[in-house]
């Protein structure tokens, strides 16, 4: 199956390919991962069904776990570009959702 072949080459790429893909993953993990953690905190601060101070605290406390998961995912992902796509895509969705609510003046 083509899928099996691509995972195999993915595994191979990790061990034998030049550092470029790895460097890309490292940058993605550190920066895009933090971006996702930041966006998820914004999102949860707006949408958690709690009073404001609790929303801020729980959203902020969850951020480290989001960051951790994003980092691990970045290195587990099939390719570096896929990791970038997922992290940046999710971040944009979450951040926009949070900002839209702010634009309506909701939950301030």
């Amino acid at each position: 199956m083509s899928n099996a072949i691509s995972t195999k080459t993915g595994a191979k790429a990790w061990s034998s390919s030049p550092g470029l893909a790895t460097a890309s993953r490292i940058v993605a993990a550190i920066f895009a991962g933090y971006g996702l953690a930041y966006a998820s905190t914004m999102f949860l601060t707006v949408y958690l069904p709690l009073v404001r101070s609790d929303r801020v605290v729980f959203a902020s406390l969850a951020s480290f776990i989001v960051y951790l998961a994003a980092i691990v995912y970045t290195f587990a992902a099939r390719s570096a570009s896929r990791a970038w796509l997922v992290l940046v895509g999710l971040s944009v969705v979450l951040a926009v959702a949070a900002l839209v609510a702010g634009d309506f003046g909701a939950r301030r």
Binding site: Y38, S53, V57, S63, I65, V72, A76
Partner: protein, 529 residues
């Protein structure tokens, strides 16, 4: 998905995680060692503080009142301060700790340690706080705090990737093969310390990050409170505060009497006791001055201080701290689980042990990295060897050096605490140079263990020779183990170092047993790390 395909997939995941674990673990490991070691020692910061202040052996009941200390502190401030803070002596801190917060927020807190009986300022020392500061910001201020946070994040990543590559967590719990070849024995040790301490390691790394969450992840504060941190803290902590009126007054209510009132109010609840913690006066001398009296309750993890606020001029009761909001209670629980200020000596010993287990995990991981590459040769071996000696040998020996400096520098020397710091730094630099110069000799570990052993075994003698005559035996007779406890613990550590230096276990390779293919494959992944 076929099973072969899923095997390929999990194997590639494991290999990806192995790469992450190897390099993401190696990079911050020396920094992590410093943070973990500093934090472990800081469990006994207050006991070390007492050890480092031989003028307090023995210590009596305090004869000073809060009013006296408050008046004294206000006289020390060149300009009327923003606030003064006082902590009366208690069981773990048998001295007055007091200071002032200057009007200018950028100026640091100025603090004094006072003899509880005479009220004299005690000779300066870095004290037990030294390891605490090293632990949370490496003496690097805000920048240091961020560096420590990055190391903490690396630790979480290393732990999680370590769990993923490590399939047989339960079985390896009971596996230690000290007679196996070097790499496997170190791998077992790394796994053992990592797995036994795993819940603690995860918790301590996560809660360590959580403490300064508003710095590391300001998004919630920005979105929820438009970045107004004071508003948020006011809302979640339910504290009282009011602005200065800029009208002077000479009259001041007796703080000692206010404390009695606060104790009466706390006692009405019937739980948590009435021990006072920090007592502060904001805008002292102003008509709007406020006295805040905090409770110190060791009986639970969340350190709700139930602050009682009074008008400093009239003594009128102004406000009682409202209970924390649920979210803030969760935050307070996490931070206080990290700081281990609840409970008693058992909690501190437990944290010390688990923290040192974390250090051992880091050391074990570094040794696995080395042993694997020493066999084949490769890049970075000399660098890692040098760093191991310089940091893992350097910090504990320099810490001992600090204790020696503390007792050998005369009490009346100006800037005494600076000289202590120079001692610490000089010892560390000396060890580091030695470790770098002899990195490939194969003897650095044993040599440094020998140095640590001699210094650690000599510490009780140093205490007896430089302390007040008869103080140690008197303390033991009283059953006060604060100071003798430190002498004994360091002596025991010295015995361990002596064993490692002069009678190390000689590794004799055990005959290789026939192993199944399945096991073979597992080791390829794990030992490949």
């Amino acid at each position: 998905m076929s099973s072969a395909e899923s095997t390929v997939k999990t194997k590639s995941l494991r290999q990806a995680m192995a790469g992450l674990h190897t390099w993401g673990g190696l990079l911050p490991s020396w920094l992590l060692f410093v943070i973990l070691f500093g934090g472990s020692i800081a469990c006994f910061d207050k006991e070390l503080e007492v050890w480092m202040r031989p003028a307090l052996h023995p210590v009596g009941e305090t004869t000073l009142s809060l009013d006296q200390v408050s008046a004294w502190v206000q006289k020390q401030a060149p300009k009327p301060p923003h606030a003064i803070w006082m902590r009366p002596p208690d069981e773990r801190q048998p001295y007055w700790y007091a200071g002032y917060e200057p009007q200018n927020e950028l100026e640091p807190f100025v603090s004094f340690t006072l003899d509880p009986q005479t009220g004299e300022v005690l000779p300066k020392t870095l004290g037990g706080n030294f390891w605490f500061t090293l632990h949370y910001n490496l003496f690097g201020g805000m920048l240091g705090m961020y560096i420590v946070a990055i190391a903490g994040m690396f630790m979480l990543v290393a732990l999680v990737s370590g769990i993923i590559i490590h399939r047989r967590i339960f079985k390896d719990f009971f596996t230690l093969r000290p007679d196996a070849n070097g790499q496997r024995a170190w791998l077992d040790a790394h796994n053992l310390f990592g797995v036994v301490g795993l819940p603690f390691h995860l918790l301590i790394a996560y809660t360590g990050l959580a403490i300064f969450v508003t710095f590391y992840m300001p998004a919630g504060l920005k979105v929820g409170y438009k970045g107004d941190i004071e508003k948020m803290f006011y809302e979640v902590q339910g504290q009282f505060g009011r602005e200065e009126l800029k009208r002077k007054t000479d009259h001041a209510a007796s703080i000692d009497k206010l404390v009695l009132d606060a104790k009466r109010r706390w006692a009405a609840s019937g739980e948590g006791g009435t021990e006072t913690g920090w007592i502060s006066v904001h805008h002292p001398g102003d008509k709007a001055a406020v006295v805040d009296i905090r409770r110190y309750d060791r009986s639970r993890v969340v350190d709700f201080q139930w602050i009682m606020s009074y008008d400093a001029t009239t003594g009128a009761f102004l406000h009682e701290q409202k209970p924390y909001k649920p979210g803030y209670t969760a935050y307070a629980w996490l931070t206080n689980v990290h700081m281990a200020q609840f409970g008693g000596a058992i909690v501190r010993w437990l944290y010390l042990g688990l923290g040192l287990m974390g250090c051992a995990m880091v050391v074990g991981g570094l040794q696995v990295w080395l042993r694997k590459r020493e066999a084949k040769g490769g890049w970075g071996i000399g660098f890692v060897r040098a760093m191991n000696g310089a940091v893992i040998g350097g910090l504990p020996i320099a810490s001992l050096g600090l204790l020696y400096g503390n007792r050998l520098i005369p009490p009346n020397v100006a800037l005494r605490d600076h000289w202590e710091a120079y001692t610490f730094i000089a010892v560390w630099i000396a060890v580091a140079l030695w470790a770098v110069a002899r990195r490939n000799s194969g003897r650095v570990g044993r040599d440094l263990f020998a140095v640590a052993a001699v210094w650690a075994l000599g510490l009780p003698a140093l205490d007896v020779l430089t302390g007040q005559p008869g103080a140690l035996s008197a303390a033991i007779a009283r059953g006060d183990w604060r100071v003798p406890g430190i002498d004994l613990a360091v002596f025991a550590a010295g015995l361990l170092c002596a064993k490692m230096a002069w009678w190390p276990r000689v590794a004799t390779p055990a005959p290789e047993k026939a192993r199944s293919k399945k096991r073979e494959r597992r080791e390829l992944v794990e030992e490949g790390v």
